[in-house]
Symmetry: C2
Subunit: 321 residues, 2 copies
């Protein structure tokens, strides 16, 4: 048995590969088999993380295991889907038992937290990268698409923004900070919590939704384009963590919130009548702007002045190979 | 808009991304949405191909586009599933319009041939590799698993074996051959045809099935292990192409058929009573052995002597990075 077959057996024996609701057949055959209840659709998303592009190499394999799965499952949250399962295509330059065990521990922890089972995948030799494909289910017609935002809707987010971008200089070792600042930022970067319960609570209420991965302004641009509307973001309403403001200052924290990637917080549009019931249920919803007729994204200051930056959006951790 | 976002738009506009039966929502949102009819299960498989490991680099991108999808869809055939859709996670070191267009043409051709729609994926910068995840549907309880083979069943394959392994020295430029020999071998390597119709015809008839990717003996070992039986393979009943025998000689062709990977022909076990009706329907089924009580795989010569080789199975195109 070759070492890569040993790895396949290793993952097949992992706690997260031991079945789950909706999994009719897991690892070990030509295909996995999932059950989708009548009246529901299957939601699917794929994400690739490449060493040196999406994460520093080397990095802590336990944290990488958590993060690689969380990033993918966040797309299920953005769709309002209930998670079922995932596949893992893992490419490794060399096989190191310590690395694999730590990676699998991180994966298991996030899989348990999100309620997904590992049902298949592939393990191959090559430069370090991983592709996760995640599966969820959502009642017919209730998936949260990007295309339904209407003029008059509120623009909302499900939590503080910019923490992952704030963490990046810490991850790269370019800066240091005291634990009270560094710890919450790094926790957000390495272990983002997909907002699955919030996504499900927004079914039939939010008119458009996505998870913020490219940066708030860039991702609002995706809603604007898909919904054929204009999105107005109010800079002074952005929810910022105390750690982020302490680390970057108010202006730096706002910039991280507007343009930094990797937050994996939900952004969504909501008819104003839907807001109060959700707030009274205790959902962490922050109104940060609104939808108007038009096209594109506009950033406003507290006086309503247009302060939209010329360049928006997304940079990978490092854009060159 | 960055070059990788341009690529995403390029694939979103590709013919194979224009929807299809069972695709409720394709490329462009956080998730794709598939419909699975009541009474059916969703079948899922993931395959990664890495440059320099699973294919020579450089190679013809059109052929690579065809082959990368065919390899993945073949797992749906092995499960008896009807194809619906696939996702593509493509990692590229540089963006070259010519390469992308040729790759997409190959992908489109195979997608059309197999009846699958591109519903999502990811495009990232990094060392060349691709992960395909394919989706199909199969009536509840009729999927062809590896675990149902019974003593007394016939061991069958769906076509000639060894052609892809025979093609490898041609692909690598280590040998040449006249077109009458080289062309059919290379065609099999670069454009394997997933045996989807055969897989569906075997529903409710075959007791176990898989597609031969690791080599016949190694893959029979997977059936033996999953079904807890012994698989007897008769060397002199292996179906070999004239081109393969002309290129490698009888003994070399038999070795390629037994141990070479990448055939993507179905191997399956069949109660003998099921054989005649399938043959009279015209399915290309070759009986190459049988299932007996026990465990493992045995290779027999024409006298029934055990000639099982010591090492079985599978080598990647090149095992080192």
């Amino acid at each position: 048995m070759g070492e890569f077959e040993l790895i396949r057996n290793f993952f097949a024996a992992a706690p997260c590969a031991q079945g789950g609701e909706g999994v009719d057949l897991g690892i070990g055959d030509d295909c996995a088999l999932l059950a989708v209840p009548p009246g529901e659709q299957l939601a699917i998303s794929t994400d690739t993380l490449v060493a040196g592009v999406h994460f520093a190499d080397p990095c802590d394999p336990f944290l990488l295991g958590q993060r690689s799965l969380a990033v993918a499952v966040s797309d299920l949250a953005a769709m309002g889907a209930t998670p079922i399962a995932f596949t893992l295509a893992l490419t490794l330059p060399t096989v190191t038992a310590d690395w694999l065990q730590a990676y699998a521990r991180g994966l298991n922890r996030m899989a348990q937290s999100c309620g997904v089972a590992l049902v298949g995948g592939d393990t191959t030799r090559g430069p370090l990268s991983m592709t996760m494909t995640v599966f969820g289910r959502v009642p017919n017609g209730l998936a949260l698409c990007r295309s339904g935002a209407q003029p008059g809707d509120l623009l909302c987010v499900g939590g503080e923004l910019g923490n992952a971008a704030g963490a990046l200089p810490l991850v790269l070792g370019e800066r240091t900070a005291e634990p009270a600042i560094a710890d919450p930022l790094l926790a957000h970067y390495w272990s983002p919590q997909p907002q699955l319960a919030l996504g499900q609570a927004l079914r039939g209420k939010a008119t458009a939704a996505l998870d913020i991965s490219d940066g708030l302004l860039a991702d609002c641009g995706h809603i604007a384009q898909a919904s054929k509307v204009s999105v107005q973001v109010e800079r002074d309403r952005l929810p910022l963590s105390g750690a982020l403001v302490a680390f970057l200052g108010q202006a730096g924290a706002q910039n991280a919130a507007l343009s930094g990637g990797d937050d994996y917080v939900l952004a969504f549009t909501l008819p104003s009548v839907e807001l109060s019931p959700l707030l009274s249920e205790g959902w962490p919803i922050h109104v940060i702007g609104r939808i108007v007729a038009g096209q594109g994204v506009t950033l406003l200051d507290s006086d309503g002045q247009d302060i939209t930056p010329q360049t928006q959006g997304y940079q990978h951790f490092r854009e060159s190979p």
